[in-house]
């Protein structure tokens, strides 16, 4: 794969929320392909390219923990915005103190993954693959990002770097740090997992039967996945 990239991400907490249990959140066991795409796009993205996740290697054993947080209960209604636009003085605001919900979450602890991905061109313009590849790798090595990438939820910040970079488990990095630790399930069926949203198709959610195969989850292609 000419345009292939690989990067390592890690963090103390992660919550890749299952859609059916996204109110009282329960995380998937493993990072979803769309979460991986989100991290890559935070580092480098242009309208000319589309990132496709090829593989997610699980480096740390899967551990869960419970937390409870106060979260906002409602979104800002569209009507508030339209009203403000019309009269120019109405406030556009929402206060967590007056409209909150306590929500429980079953989240992942101390995760570490290697993401492998490649990009495709969305159109005929700006099709210099070497350029995009170089920009991505340069930004990755320097730790640059457009916005801070996260592990499923905004508040769970993702640390990232090249695949063999130093991390909390292997402070010296190197090839050793790219191999799964003991305790990572070698083969495991994960059930139906969110692949991504099909933005070309009315933002339909697409699912694929995820499984850990020799420590790696390989997402299906969007065309194959079920809507």
């Amino acid at each position: 794969m000419a345009f292939g990239v690989s990067l390592k991400v890690w963090g103390e907490y992660a919550c890749f929320t299952r859609p059916e249990m996204k109110v009282e959140r329960v995380s998937y066991d493993v990072m979803t392909p769309s979460a991986a795409r989100g991290i890559i796009e935070a580092i480098y993205w242009k309208p000319a390219i589309r990132w496709v996740v090829d593989a997610i290697t699980i480096l740390n054993p899967i551990r869960f923990e419970n937390i409870r947080r106060n979260e906002l209960a409602n979104k800002l209604p569209l009507s508030t915005v339209t009203k403000a636009m019309k009269d120019g003085v109405s406030p556009v605001e929402k206060f967590i103190e007056t409209d909150r919900q306590q929500r429980a979450s079953l989240v992942l602890r101390d995760v570490r993954y290697i993401i492998e991905a490649h990009f495709e061109f969305t159109g005929p313009d700006d099709n210099n693959d070497g350029k995009h590849l170089d920009i991505f790798n340069r930004r990755l090595a320097k730790g640059q990002c457009f916005h801070r990438p996260c592990l499923g939820c905004r508040e769970f910040a993702a640390h990232f770097g090249p695949a063999d970079c130093p991390d909390p488990v292997f402070p010296n990095g190197g090839p050793e740090s790219m191999r799964p630790l003991p305790g990572v399930p070698d083969d495991k069926d994960l059930g139906w997992m969110l692949l991504d949203l099909d933005y070309d198709n009315d933002m339909e959610a697409r699912f694929f039967p995820a499984k850990i195969d020799h420590g790696v989850v390989r997402p299906w292609k969007m065309e194959e996945a079920k809507a």
Binding site: P19, E20, N66, D189, G191, W192, F207
Partner: protein
């Protein structure tokens, strides 16, 4: 991969459990489109649709006595029958299919307006026609002929018609088929299911439980009842009841595509587990969480796990129900075998297939919703092994006979609560005083074999300082924490303890650990005070235990000085003096450092409490109990 798979997913595992329940002959689990209802009578027809008889099918039920001395009563109750059912009848006229009250089935009713009864009977007849008109089945033909031959309100033509049937629910049966109602005929069932599928108008799509494409999607999932603390009307796992929970412009359950069928399956299975009778032992309470567990195929582990988790409650149950006492004995034997890891393994004792998948689900209420506290996928053998490990780690000598060697998880959690003396001066704790997350965290550690949460240590050390109760349960928990931490590869913040076996069950006079020796010393000094002064209002334990444990250097010189005075006063002071000398000799005083460190780490504080507990037990134990029995000290070879 297309169908089964995904055993790790909660709802999927529940849906599979539902499949198992439906196939089990002894369970009253309804299928989609069916429900268990109370039926009083059956209408028996011959093949030509003539009425043969109308029979009372009610049954006798024995009600167990409320008190021990009471006698069981019997009463007549309607029989529970699986009948075709869809929800949604309120005040209007809407008939059920092939069962209903006599107003609908026969057009005979003693209350209500006659014209309404005519409408009811017509609605019943029309529904039967709608579903059964194209069905080739003797039973179906018989019902249709029977209904067509009747006028609403006509009761006189029925022989055996008795007033007592009026208003009661009836079903149909074909003459000569004693155990099968007409709605159970396969052709009738198929027609009925086809009929409901047609009547549900929902968009189709992929179901993320079954993975099947083009299934009608559930808009609202059935309600779940039986989680303690949740609303009595029931709560939901899958629900989107505030706008912040919805994404991408999708409304309600379109946020998570689940088919009607799968939603019915998982909720029915979970409700079955949550509402099982107490005797079925597949549900328990841990803190604020309601825990259910099941295996993929029937196992004995399913029925005994609750007893493993809470042996005390099982014993109480037995006592109340006054079964033969041998059950407790059997349980004890089983628990001892589990703890000691004896051959044959527990799965052999139980007769279970060791690789059978086993699931544990902990649910806690939150508003009108249910939150998943923990979710574990394991096997019967793994669960047995982890329970063995748990009880092995907890092993600790008891102080009193009433203390259980195998404390249940809730009993351990209770040890984290403040102990307060009640009116009789006995110390008790309340579950309300413990933050509920501890129970869930502890249960998860037990089931997964992970180390206990560190917060438990701090909580107990805090309890020692505030209520001063150094109890068997607390010491068992702390010892188990150290043993598990060591096994999981954490090094304790202690120089001398490196193996789980070095955290001993009873007094280990050989260990050089400073915390442990200081704890022993403290116990001896306390004993000396008691022998000198008898019972005093505030002992040195009440006043100094916390500071001696945390900052020995500030307390011990003064305590030793005080101790000498007590010893001089006591009758057998020289015995205590010898003990003190023995313990002091054990301190390794290298290059002039004083034996009392300025402060102890929390790991060392645990060893302090352990030393105190062991030494105190050794001092106070009655000599006649086991004078020469060798004490169980597994760490001696290391220290010697």
């Amino acid at each position: 991969m297309e169908n089964g798979g995904g055993e790790s997913m909660i709802l999927q595992a529940l849906a599979n459990y539902y499949d198992r329940l439906v196939k089990a002959p002894d369970q009253d689990v309804p299928e989609p489109g069916f429900s268990v209802q109370k039926i009083h009578a059956e209408i028996v027809l011959d093949k030509d649709g003539n009425l043969v008889a109308m029979n009372d099918i009610q049954q006798e039920e024995t009600i167990p006595p409320k008190t021990k001395k009471g006698k069981p009563k019997t009463k007549i109750v309607p029989r529970k029958v699986k009948v075709p059912f869809v929800e949604g009848r309120t005040s209007g006229v809407a008939a059920f299919f092939l069962w209903d009250n006599t107003g609908y089935v026969l057009g005979a009713q003693d209350k209500g307006k006659p014209e309404r009864i005519v409408k009811q009977f017509e609605a019943f007849r029309n529904l039967a026609h709608e579903v059964l008109d194209d069905v080739e089945d003797e039973g179906a033909r018989a019902v249709i002929t029977f209904l067509d031959s009747r006028e609403a309100g006509q009761t006189d033509a029925i022989e055996d018609f008795e007033e007592k049937f009026i208003g009661n629910n009836c079903v149909f049966r074909l003459d000569g088929e004693p155990d099968c109602f007409i709605h159970d005929h396969p052709a009738v069932r198929t027609a009925w299911l086809k009929h409901i599928d047609k009547s549900i108008e929902r968009p189709t799509g992929v179901c993320l439980i079954s993975g099947q494409a083009d299934e009608p999607q559930a808009r609202i999932h059935p309600v779940l009842k039986g989680v303690r603390g949740a609303q009595t009307s029931g709560a939901y796992i899958v629900s989107f009841n505030a706008s912040a929970f919805m994404s991408y412009g999708k409304e309600y359950n379109d946020n998570a595509p689940v088919s009607e069928r799968a939603a019915f399956a998982y909720t029915t299975a979970l409700n079955h587990l949550l509402n099982a009778k107490k005797t079925e032992h597949q549900r328990m309470l841990l803190g604020d969480a309601t825990v259910v567990f099941w295996s993929e195929t029937p196992t004995r582990m399913e029925s005994v796990l609750q007893m493993f988790i809470d042996p005390g409650a099982a014993a109480e149950d037995e006592g109340q129900e006054a079964h033969d006492g041998s059950v407790i004995g059997q349980l004890r034997t089983l628990l001892q075998a589990v703890r000691d890891g004896k051959e044959p393994p527990v799965t052999d004792l139980l007769g279970d297939e060791p690789d059978t998948p086993f699931y544990v689900l902990g649910l806690a209420p939150n508003a009108s919703r249910l939150a998943v506290r923990f979710w574990l996928v394991s096997t019967v053998a793994d669960i047995a092994e982890r329970l063995a490990q748990h009880f092995d780690d907890l092993e600790m000598e008891t102080q009193f006979d009433f203390e259980s060697e195998f404390p249940g998880i809730w009993r351990l959690v209770l040890e984290l609560a403040p102990a307060r003396p009640n009116a009789e001066g006995r110390y008790t704790s309340k579950m309300d005083d413990v933050p509920p997350v501890y129970a869930g965290a502890l249960a998860r550690s037990v089931f997964t074999g992970e180390a206990y949460p560190e917060s438990i240590v701090n909580r107990i050390l805090g309890r020692f300082r505030s209520d001063g109760r150094v109890t068997h349960g607390r010491m068992a928990l702390l010892a188990a924490h150290h043993r598990r931490a060591l096994r999981k590869g954490r090094t304790l913040n202690i120089d001398s303890i490196t193996k789980p076996s070095e955290v001993t069950v009873s007094l280990n006079p050989e260990t050089k650990n400073v915390g442990y020796r200081l704890g022993r010393l403290f116990a001896v000094l306390e004993k000396a005070q008691q022998e000198a002064l008898g019972n005093v209002n505030a002992t040195i334990k009440d006043r100094f235990f916390g500071s001696a444990m945390a900052t020995p250097a500030t307390v011990f010189p003064r305590l030793l000085d005080l101790g000498q005075k007590h010893i001089a006063k006591a009758e057998y002071g020289h015995v205590m003096d010898r003990h003190i000398g023995e313990i002091m000799e054990g301190f390794e005083v290298a290059d002039g450092t004083p034996p009392f460190p300025a402060h102890l780490s929390s790991d060392d504080q645990v060893m302090f409490a352990l030393g105190y507990y062991h030494q105190r037990n050794a001092l106070w134990r009655k000599k006649d109990k086991s004078p020469d029995a060798p004490q169980k000290t597994t760490g001696t070879e290391e220290a010697a």
